[in-house]
């Protein structure tokens, strides 16, 4: 028998693949039903009829949409997403260049969300009804109540202009020249053994990552609190209290652990929101990532690049969700031990 986790992984991979095919159809359909001729949009108003005919032929625009999708899938399976009409390079090369900056931003923001959001939720539930609880609830609700570009602008105004603690924009100070090996500055600076460049990159990422993380911190804290408050009403907590376990241990071992599962689910969803909100934060902080590329190609109606970018972002989202599901399966004894006997 397969261990339950392997079976779960296989099932989730299968469903995700079906969903990903659906995503590709959806985004492809949206990209093809736009008003206007994509070839004319791509070539601009000065193109000759001959150039347009040639491009239409190259993009298979005269075939039916089903046939066009067939060509698209064939190329996709070869790892080819077509040429970006904006940069004139393969879309895959563009994505490979811009993705690491966005991933770096999202990973740091995700860590902030977990390391700040969960403890805030735990404190709030542990001291339910106290001033600390009320303050945390108010602040976390404020956190989810503004789009990340508003937080980005406010943080920039406060901590880059009025109190010049952090840099205003960019990933790293221009005077550092780092050989791009992986594209991840945190890794490349370490590979180059340049610790001051590493510190500089870390210093640059604080404000954009925090602006991106704020609504996630709020969501995670609020959900953790409400789940823990529910758990606190269960009889076994009262039993633990009457047994004389220390309150800290009760909060952590008995009240928080069962609440971790719904919290993880919401963290997976917030990650998806971050992939979208990165579009806003990168615009404010001039962060040279995939989202800035995404906005540029959307504004230019660069079909291949739009389809490629959306597909990659959705694939990342599905991967994160599989990881979250596996984590949940791993920490949930009901799944971990289920069907052991069979």
């Amino acid at each position: 028998m397969m261990p339950p986790i392997v079976r779960l992984l296989a099932k989730r991979l299968g469903t995700s693949l079906i969903v990903l095919v659906g995503v590709s159809m959806l985004i492809f359909a949206i990209a093809r039903i736009i008003p206007g001729d994509p070839a004319r949009i791509a070539l601009g108003p000065n193109a000759t009829a001959e150039q347009i005919t040639m491009l239409r032929e190259r993009l298979h625009l005269d075939d039916s949409i089903a046939v066009q999708y067939g060509y698209f899938v064939r190329d996709l399976l070869r790892g080819d997403l077509g040429i970006s009409l904006y940069t004139n390079r393969p879309v895959t090369a563009d994505i490979a260049q811009f993705l690491p900056a966005t991933l770096e931003l999202i990973v740091v923001a995700g860590l902030m969300m977990i390391l700040i959001g969960l403890p805030l939720g735990i404190i709030s539930a542990r001291y339910r009804g106290s001033w600390a609880d009320n303050l945390i609830r108010l602040l976390t609700l404020l956190g989810v109540s503004a789009p990340s570009f508003v937080w980005a602008v406010i943080l920039m105004l406060l901590f880059a202009f009025f109190l010049p603690l952090f840099p205003i924009a960019g990933r790293i100070t221009d005077s550092y020249t780092i050989e791009p090996v992986t594209g991840f500055l945190f890794i490349d600076t370490l590979l180059a053994g340049n610790l001051s460049a590493f510190a500089d990159a870390a210093w640059h990422i604080v404000l954009p990552a925090f602006a991106l993380a704020l609504s996630g911190i709020g969501q995670a804290a609020r959900l953790t609190r409400s789940n823990m408050v529910e758990t606190y009403d269960k009889p076994y907590i009262e039993m633990a209290q009457s047994y004389g376990f220390p309150e800290g241990k009760i909060a952590w071992r008995f009240a928080f652990r069962p609440s971790l599962i719904p919290s993880l689910t919401i963290i997976g969803l917030d990650f998806a929101a971050m992939l979208g909100n990165a579009f806003l934060v990168e615009a404010v902080f001039a962060w040279p990532g995939l989202s800035r590329y995404g906005v540029a190609v959307i504004l230019r109606k660069d079909l291949n690049a739009i389809v490629g970018t959306v597909l990659i972002i959705s694939a990342m989202f599905l991967i994160v969700n599989i990881v979250v599901d596996l984590l949940i399966a791993f920490i949930n004894p009901r799944i971990r031990y289920s069907q052991r006997a069979t």
Binding site: F149, V153, G276, V295, S314
Partner: protein, 277 residues
């Protein structure tokens, strides 16, 4: 009803939510009477008073062509709320019906409907709306369309989960045994029990639609000028930080106040109606 109101008014945060939402709604409806410069909603220029810091009669300052920011924010609220109401008026019935059918009928219909929902849920909301707006023309109608397309699946998921748990209840079995039709079961038996959760989510979502719509226009893919919009005001003003701080701070706070108000009110409703998350 009286009891509901009593519980609502007992909690100071709920009262704050009511006040904020009331202020936003009233200022949107009566913008024509409140705004000191109603003509500044459009393409007016007043270069004698451009880029002024807040001072009487421009309590929020003026923008780069001399328009009163306070008046423009009031009219921006009107458009945002209109957009929110239209989006929910379409997305909620669609999403709820699909969720009810998938949850109650089951079988291959459930599988197909829920996988389609998954497809929409796996494109980050903002990215889907952005791509649609980029490919269509950026008008108010298309903005509503793009936001609606990303919004309905969330209601499908909520109602689907509620329906599945309601199906286990005794009253459902009882109604089935006396031979109630599927339509009766779905709309007369199960739907009424989902209403508290749907109402709560709708209150919260009015705020979040404003948030998403302002995000679209912040990136230049929402309502186009000269129509006043909170997101594009922040985007235009961000180039002039930190000197002309009022250009970004007031529209930004206007978004925060509206969304915060709807969040407080939604939370209060959840407690009162006992809705599930």
């Amino acid at each position: 009803m009286k009891r509901t109101l009593f519980i609502l008014l007992r909690n100071p945060l709920s009262v704050l939510g009511l006040i904020l939402v009331g202020t936003v709604v009233l200022s949107a409806v009566f913008a024509d009477f409140i705004a000191p410069f109603p003509s500044h909603r459009g393409a007016v220029v007043d270069f004698a008073n451009f880029n002024k810091a807040p001072e009487w009669p421009y309590i929020f300052g003026t923008d780069l062509v001399g328009r009163d920011l306070f008046s423009r924010i009031l009219y921006a609220y009107r458009i945002s709320l209109l957009l929110g109401v239209v989006v929910l008026a379409i997305a909620v019935p669609v999403g709820v019906t699909i969720g009810l059918v998938a949850g109650y009928v089951g079988g291959w219909i459930e599988y197909v409907l829920m996988r389609i929902t998954d497809v929409f849920l796996s494109i980050p909301p903002l990215v889907l709306a952005l791509s649609m707006m980029g490919l269509l023309e950026p008008t108010l109608t298309n903005g509503m369309l793009a936001v609606t397309v990303m919004w309905w699946p969330w209601y499908t998921r909520l109602v689907y989960n509620l329906t599945r748990s309601e199906k286990e209840e005794g009253y459902v079995l009882a109604a089935e045994v006396i031979g109630a039709s599927r339509a009766h079961m779905i709309f007369r038996e199960i739907l009424p029990n989902c209403v508290p959760s749907i109402l709560t989510k709708m209150t919260l979502d009015l705020g979040f639609v404003i948030l998403i719509a302002s995000s679209l226009s912040f990136l230049g893919l929402g309502v186009q000028p000269p129509t006043p919009d909170l997101g594009s005001m922040v985007a235009d003003g961000a180039k002039y930080l930190p000197d002309s701080w009022w250009l970004t701070v007031f529209p930004g706070l206007a978004i925060l106040v509206a969304v915060f108000g709807f969040n407080l009110l939604g939370d209060a409703l959840r407690d009162v109606l006992g809705a599930e998350q």
